[in-house]
């Protein structure tokens, strides 16, 4: 068909598995929704700006509507009063979606063990990756994003799933 390609013997087609192709595409286009409630936000700003630059992982552009995002980053302490809002935000996100617990407070309640603080967001929504630290170093956040990318790349990506 194309004379140039015929002569050079270049690729016109390649074979792959659907899950690998979709996983590869998805892992480099993580649109995060930052649900920021506390001081971890400072570290979130640091990791998303030039010095550490999450754009290298395709995870730079925050969407300010949960309906347009793939990754819910829960950054900071969640109180019992805040929990219904977080749950609603999670439910508004479209499949496929992932959740990152950013810092100890979101992961386990951290040092808040009292009437007010939710003891980890996994009590109310499923979490894919936990990042420890108070606050976490930007390197830990990047490590968390890379672990999430591995998880996405190795997951099955059904075109139609049971929730669709």
């Amino acid at each position: 068909m194309n004379e140039v390609n015929e002569k050079s013997g270049a690729f016109e087609y390649l074979t792959t598995r659907k899950d690998e192709l979709v996983g590869w595409a998805r892992k480099f286009s993580i649109f995060p929704y930052p649900f920021v409630t506390a001081c971890c936000a400072m570290e979130f700003m640091s990791v998303s700006s030039t010095m550490y630059d999450t754009d290298r992982f395709g995870a730079a552009l925050p969407r300010f509507s949960p309906r347009q995002s793939d990754l819910l980053m829960v950054v900071g302490t969640i109180t019992h009063k805040q929990a219904p809002i977080l749950k609603k935000v999670y439910e508004q996100m479209c499949e496929p979606k992932w959740v990152m617990a950013f810092g100890v407070c979101a992961s386990s309640g951290g040092f808040y063990r009292n009437y007010a603080a939710l003891q980890g967001i996994d009590k109310i929504i499923p979490v894919d990756v936990y990042i420890p630290g108070c606050p976490p170093r930007p390197e830990s956040v990047i490590d968390g994003i890379m672990q999430l990318q591995d998880k996405i790349a190795n997951a099955s990506h059904p075109i139609v799933n049971e929730k669709f």
Binding site: H80, K81, Y115, L118, I124, I125
Partner: protein
């Protein structure tokens, strides 16, 4: 300069069951709760304490009466502070509200009601402000179980 004002105030407040003493650079006055409104009026109108800083409470679980209700006032003109302390019982934790004198008392009294269950006579709106509707108990009382959770969202599993 301001020490003179506090000294005059201390002399003026002495008596009627009130015990003014100097503590940590401010004037601390122990008083019966019936004397609160009169004292506040005097502070505001005669001595120029125009700013209501906070109202909170202290829980002494083994003491009778159990609670101290603590008010703080500040004079933006003379830059001095006054603390008023009143003891109230667990059975009748009521003091008079200051909403007629200081608008900011509305929110601060709601918070004190949330956390300690102190009622303020005259404050018509004591809905929860930091807590949520349906929260039972008063979390800053010493007998509130410190790990008791009252979640609004049902937990998974």
């Amino acid at each position: 300069m301001s020490q003179g004002l506090l000294e005059r105030l201390r002399e003026r407040l002495d008596g009627d069951g009130r015990e003014p003493v100097f503590a940590h650079g401010l004037l601390a006055v122990q008083l019966p709760r019936e004397a609160l409104l009169d004292t506040v009026k005097l502070l505001k109108d005669e001595f120029g304490f125009d700013m209501f800083l906070d109202v909170t409470a202290v829980d002494w679980p083994k003491r009778e009466p159990r609670f101290d209700v603590v008010h703080h006032f500040y004079s933006t003109h003379d830059h001095v502070r006054v603390r008023l302390k009143m003891a109230v019982t667990e059975a009748d934790p009521v003091v008079d509200s200051l909403v007629d004198h200081y608008g900011s008392a509305h929110f601060m009294e709601r918070e004190c009601h949330d956390m300690f269950g102190i009622a303020f006579r005259g404050n018509a709106d004591l809905r929860p402000i930091l807590l949520y509707e349906g929260f039972e108990g008063h979390p800053l009382r010493k007998d509130y179980p410190k790990e008791l959770e009252q979640p609004l969202v049902r937990y998974r599993e």
